[in-house]
């Protein structure tokens, strides 16, 4: 049986070292506030510049962590297509992203592995940088269909094992 919607990318299409198309986006105050409200984050450092500067010691309001997670997910699934199923992610926040910054998300495949139950996981190292200064790094494991009959989203119970990548 083949999949109802043609996959954008299969596991076998991917090899270690492959680069994802970079994503550039200029952040505005609206980006920060919309991202905070979309994630139900009412804390003032994500909408009140006076608080951010005088209490947090930052130069402006800044993107919150859950919204950065949403940016990373969008970046990854733009590449995988809708069959790509996130299994595991790790974010490391090194610096803040402020209004006026143009952020660049870039990614490289660092691992490919078919796990013991036949699920094809791709490990991708992603960075979010501003003017070549890395603000956040993300390592993600995303499952892709291993062939035209495999759908990672159909996996349940023991057939879905979203473990961290082997170090």
């Amino acid at each position: 049986m083949t999949l109802a919607v043609e996959p954008q990318r299969l596991f076998g299409d991917v090899s270690v070292g492959a680069a994802l198309e970079p994503l550039n986006y200029t952040v505005s105050a609206t980006t920060v506030v919309l991202g905070a409200l979309a994630t139900r984050d009412w804390r003032p450092m994500h909408h009140d510049k006076d608080f951010a500067v005088n209490r947090n010691g930052t130069r402006d309001i800044f993107l919150n962590t859950p919204n950065q997670a949403a940016w990373f997910e969008r970046f990854l699934t733009d590449w995988t297509g809708p069959y790509g199923r996130l299994g595991w992610v790790r974010f490391r926040m090194k610096g803040s992203v402020f209004p006026g910054d143009t952020m660049t998300l870039s990614g490289v495949v660092s691992g490919v592995e078919v796990d013991p139950v036949g699920c094809g996981f791709v490990t991708i190292d992603v960075s979010l940088s501003v003017d070549d200064d890395v603000k956040t790094t993300c390592t993600a494991r995303v499952a892709l269909p291993v062939d035209a009959s495999d759908n990672p989203w159909a996996r349940r119970g023991d057939q879905w094992r979203p473990a961290p990548p082997a170090s």
Binding site: L3, T39, P66, A70, R85, R90, M93
Partner: protein, 178 residues
């Protein structure tokens, strides 16, 4: 690894399940669309019902939204104090006398997909508190908090881990502390 010089009231919380909570509202599409709009995510799983039906058996939420469903309303009737998400984090700031805090590291393992209409449950576990450290932000401590999410059927939805850094800002000579 937990610092021996951390207060006993903090050390006693290591490994203890706290704050068993149920989401204040069912998973709903308005927030899914607002979230996707905030990052211009055009994944058809979230916008096109026929694609969602074919691939995921119906509408699902973006996995990265899992913590969104537990952030409390900014106000609710009868609530005297503002409810805070990740309460263990704020408790630690209070216990340790560290007025500021940032998150430095966040890990999430995704299990059963979150579906529209789900009512999720969660609890938090403090894993560790570090010795005092000094960073460019100030002097304080790092801590690790796990958050476990399940759905109304008891299925594991996600396991999340946060590393936070609570700190006091360094005060320059001649500058008054606020």
């Amino acid at each position: 690894m937990t610092a021996a010089d951390a207060p006993a009231e903090v050390r006693d919380l290591i490994g203890v399940e706290q704050y068993h909570e149920t989401g204040e509202f069912p998973v709903e599409r308005g927030y899914i669309w607002t979230s996707c709009a905030s990052v211009e995510n055009g994944n058809p799983l979230f916008w096109d019902d026929s694609t969602a039906e074919a691939i995921t058996g119906g509408p699902v939420a973006p996995p990265s939204m899992v913590s969104v469903w537990f952030r409390p309303h900014h106000w609710a009737p009868g609530r005297a104090e503002q409810a805070l998400p990740l309460q263990v984090h704020f408790d630690l700031k209070e216990h340790l006398g560290l007025p500021e805090a940032v998150m430095t590291d966040n890990t999430i393992e995704f299990h059963t997909p979150v579906r529209v209409g789900d009512v999720l449950r969660t609890h938090q576990v403090l894993r560790s508190v570090s010795d005092e450290k000094t960073t460019k932000l100030g002097t304080g401590r790092f801590w690790v908090i796990d958050v476990v999410y399940t759905n109304q059927d008891g299925e594991l939805v996600a396991k999340e881990s946060y590393t936070g850094f609570g700190y006091r800002r360094e005060v320059a000579p001649g500058q008054a502390a606020s």
